[in-house]
């Protein structure tokens, strides 16, 4: 009985840890900046693919090196996702601050593009992209030099031209430059990342309990990320600026805080954390273009239930949701009631929900019920600004 | 006690320990025009929030015509006959002034009535009259977003009147208006006061002098003193916390 309880708790916590590490970036981007980033899952997916690439690189270096790929993969996933996030913020989101619904739609567009990107990326496309960026930014630079004010239509024409040329170059290369250019980087099917040997197997406790190392690793990683984020926000100079800007943007600007840089940094941080989450989930399953969409909705639920803008809320919510999901989904609850005599209907009820997908149904019902009592989440933000 | 239209008893509003209202006692008679002044952050807006149900008092009770207001949602309180103008004008920007007024003027506020009931001609006349009163006839059919700040202020006052409440709560009606507009607003409020009970919150001393009979001074969430304008102005405590700080302006 005790062992079952500990096992259940462990599994719940490990589900919660995955949720939390995914939700952490969201909690920052959504909680601190009020930006709904539906491409968060795709940033995760990029992190996962980065891990895959890094692992292949290490494979080339030999078996002994392979065991440590993950330590290179983590920072690199962070970096890749953060850079893409940065580009996203500078290119799109900053024009949409204060319009959350529009941001939501725009980031969904980005997520579609990213998903298709990993499916069809090849060298021809990369060259095309480089040409596009070169032409567009080069052209804009020239325009800004020569014109006092760059009119909107000029940018539009420039963009159209650059896109047209880039697409043409990409297509030409794709068709004529041989297989090196036209072969997609990643296969259309899901790819697998093999965890290092020291993360296979698990820690045995007693006779029946087994804590998989991969899960333990994710729990530790989540704690490390939390500590890192906490330290960064509470103790570093930039963290202070971030908190200042979230509380009062115009006042912060008056005090000389570069709010635009702060926005970009906050967003990059949140995106980078998505990358780390992506790296972490490679330990649990295969990697595919749709990897992110499996997690994103749950992660949003964590943030909403926890209370937007509060890290501690996300932590508690992730753990609670994780544990409840496990207890319902694994049938532990149903089992509990089967043993009791008079509770057969209850047992039948919980058996009905005892699959992973049905557990989601139950958890959602619980969340909606919960929101009836605490509409702003477990740890609501206070003050006038939340009333909006 | 029953003659009091508004009766606030020992109300405290605490935001995480910060007391925006602190043991506030306040009451006013039917038909009275009361001006509330007080330095920034004194809790004036919060005071209106408590009456209109936007904020629940942590302690104490607010009564309107003897009815307890706590636990009632905002729209019920509004239906009891309390109308409010916000500090920054809040009108529906994508509706025209006429439509804004219609919306407030409507007596039947449930969903079904809104779907099936047409505007009565009496209501239409009221609205026409109101548009004239607030000087927006020429702009009656452009979106309210295109109105100037002062026009929005007036439109909101108009909406308040259209609602025909028994008690009008007016938060800083002349903030951002020119002197001329201010004076007109003052006249409008005075004429409204003939048939309504009104609470006006204002900073502009000139304006307060124009309309005030009874003045209540709020400071740090409680009533500092109450009386006529000259009494209040000569009260040393008021001079210290409020007028003293702004003497040059007054």
């Amino acid at each position: 009985m005790i062992e079952g309880l500990i096992g259940g708790l462990f599994n719940g916590i490990s589900i919660g840890a995955v949720l939390l590490i995914v939700a952490l970036g969201l909690a920052i981007v959504f909680g601190l900046m009020g930006v709904i980033n539906l491409a968060h899952g795709e940033l995760m997916m990029l992190g996962a693919y980065t891990t895959y690439v890094v692992q292949n690189g290490f494979k080339a270096m030999g078996e002994s090196a392979l065991n440590f790929y993950i330590f290179a993969a983590l920072p690199l996933s962070f970096l890749v996702a953060a850079l893409v996030g940065l580009a996203l913020e500078r290119g799109v989101i900053r024009y949409l601050y204060g319009r959350p619904l529009e941001t939501l739609l725009a980031t969904w567009g980005v997520s579609l593009i990213l998903r298709q990107f990993v499916r069809s990326v090849n060298w021809a496309m990369i060259v095309g992209l480089v040409v596009l960026c070169g032409l567009f930014f080069g052209g804009r630079w020239v325009l800004q030099r020569s014109q006092r004010q760059v009119a909107g239509w000029m940018t539009a024409v420039l963009l159209t031209l650059s896109v047209a040329i880039a697409v043409a170059v990409g297509l030409l290369l794709n068709q004529n430059a041989g297989v090196a250019f036209s072969r997609p980087w990643f296969s259309a099917r899901n790819v697998d990342v093999t965890p290092p040997t020291w993360l296979r197997g698990g820690l045995a406790l007693g006779t029946t309990l087994q804590f998989p190392y991969a899960r333990l690793f994710i729990i530790v990683l989540t704690i490390a990320c939390l500590a890192g984020v906490y330290w960064f926000l509470q103790r570093s100079a930039w963290g202070l600026r971030i908190r200042a800007v979230t509380q009062n943007r115009s006042m912060s600007a008056c005090l000389g805080i570069p709010t635009e840089q702060v926005d970009a940094l906050t967003f990059a941080l949140g995106s980078g954390l998505a990358g780390i989450a992506g790296c972490a989930v490679t330990l649990l399953g295969s990697v595919g273009p749709n990897l992110g969409s499996n997690y994103i909705v749950d992660a949003f639920m964590v943030v909403v239930v926890g209370g937007v803008g509060k890290l501690v809320g996300s932590i508690v919510a992730a753990l609670v949701i994780g544990i409840v999901t496990y207890l319902v989904g694994s049938g532990t609850l149903a089992l509990l009631f089967t043993s009791a005599e008079g509770l057969q209907p209850l047992a039948a009820f919980f058996t009905f929900f005892a699959t992973t997908s049905m557990a989601k149904v139950m958890v959602f019902a619980l969340i909606i019920t919960f929101l009836q009592f605490k509409p702003a989440g477990m740890f609501p933000q206070k003050g006038r600004t939340v009333e909006a | 006690m029953s003659a009091k239209i508004l009766d606030i008893e020992n109300v405290t509003v605490s935001f995480d320990g910060f007391k925006a209202l602190n043991n506030l006692n306040f009451n006013m008679d039917e038909g009275e025009l009361r001006v509330i002044i007080g330095p920034n952050g004194a809790g004036k807006t919060t005071f209106l929030d408590v009456i209109t149900g936007k904020v629940q008092p942590t302690e104490g009770k607010a009564r309107f015509k003897g009815k307890d207001l706590s636990q009632r949602p905002e729209h019920e309180i509004a239906r009891l006959g309390i109308g409010r103008k916000f500090q920054t004008p809040r009108v529906y920007l994508n509706l025209t002034p006429r439509e804004n007024l219609e919306l407030s003027c409507n007596r039947h506020k449930n969903v079904i009535a809104t779907l099936f009931k047409q505007l009565s001609s009496a209501e239409r006349r009221t609205i026409g009259g109101l548009l004239e009163t607030i000087g927006l006839e020429t702009k009656a059919d452009v979106p309210a977003a295109l109105l100037s700040h002062g026009e929005k202020q007036w439109l909101e006052i108009g909406m308040l009147v259209a609602q025909s409440p028994d008690l009008l709560l007016v938060d800083e009606p002349v903030a951002g208006l020119t002197d001329e507009e201010t004076e007109k607003t003052g006249k409008l409020l005075m004429s409204l006061a003939e048939s309504h009970s009104i609470v006006v919150i204002e900073h502009d001393m000139e304006f307060v002098r124009q309309i005030a009979r009874q003045v209540t001074v709020l400071h740090q969430g409680s009533v500092l003193c109450e009386g006529t304008m000259s009494e209040v102005q000569n009260d040393p405590r008021v001079i210290e916390v409020y007028l003293g700080a702004q003497e040059e302006e007054v």
Binding site: G98, P100, A106, R249, F300, F364, A388 | A78, L103
Partner: protein, 391 residues
Amino acid sequence: MATDTFVRPKKGRQAHQRLLVEVGLVIAIALVLILVIPAVVSGFRLGLLGRFLALAIVALGIDLIWGFTGLLSLGHGIFFALGGYALAMYLQINTLGDGELPEFFSLYGVTELPWFWQPFYSLPFTLLAVFIIPAVVAGVLGYLVFRNRIRGVYFSILTQAALVVFFNFFNGQQELINGTNGLKTDTSTFLGVEVGSSSAQFNFYILTVVFLALAYALCRWLTSGRFGRMLIAIRDDENRMRFSGYDPTGFKVLVFAVSGAIAGIAGALYTVQSGIVSPQYMDIAFSIEMVIWVAVGGRATLVGAILGAVFVNLGRSLLSESFPEIWLFFQGALFLLVVTALPDGVVGWLRYRLSDRFRRWFGRSRSVVTPPLLELDPDVGAEKREAIDKR
């Protein structure tokens, strides 16, 4: 932005005339769609058009709640699929002889029709269920969310979560609703005609046009007049309404339910024309796509919603026939473009462009476009508004 999308209380006769013209136009277009188009396009293309028109019906529903009321639902796939499932199940169980069950039930060892499917033997019940069930689901979900004043993006996220949940439920319940495989309708018979036959399909096409016109009329009625102004007031500043004595919850629940009902009808029409209903209709992507149709066409313009749905889907079928992989890039770009460069959609943009030109001809000044500031509480959002004003 939406200011001239509903009729102003014009002086009696004028308003009356405009209404007549509009009714005439709608009927004329419907007649063209029913009489002329089938004569000029092939059966396959006609089927495609029929499906797009069914999607245009959902787009109307989305426009009603998003364009006019400011509620962005990402979960309309639920209502769409519910309508489809209701009709599909009716078709399945009524095609069989007495006591027989659809094939898939026997695969999972179900010998008796589950109780909740029993009423679907009846045609009147089914026809009501097609829109009442989605409306009730939408109403309940809406009530639970709106009564707590959960709004804006939170509402969007919750509807999306609800969508995922319904997807999981339908996907997981093999023995009750055939899970992933969904329900096929092609070989069933409806009133004695095989659903997949070309004559039945043509009738469904006509039915779709009729329902599109009806849905348009309903939305038009709701968005004009007093109720419509109420919707816009909700979009502009719903909290302000409370202080005028209105409770926005009821209004929001009602429009959400109506919008769900419209989506249910659309789903049923789409199902019979595409031959299957499956949990795929509750794919996250599909529900967000519905929003983009409206955005492309022009939110808060009903015509825009219809045109957007038809043309985006036309573009999709053209593009994805020849280059499937480009479609996603294209769609993504469409999202970005519409949101950043064309927030009023094509119809909205045209309307201001054209109306400005007319105004100039008559020597009037340009009209000014004012985007609704949905999420901002003027009492507190001044700082955010400044940020927007700066742009």
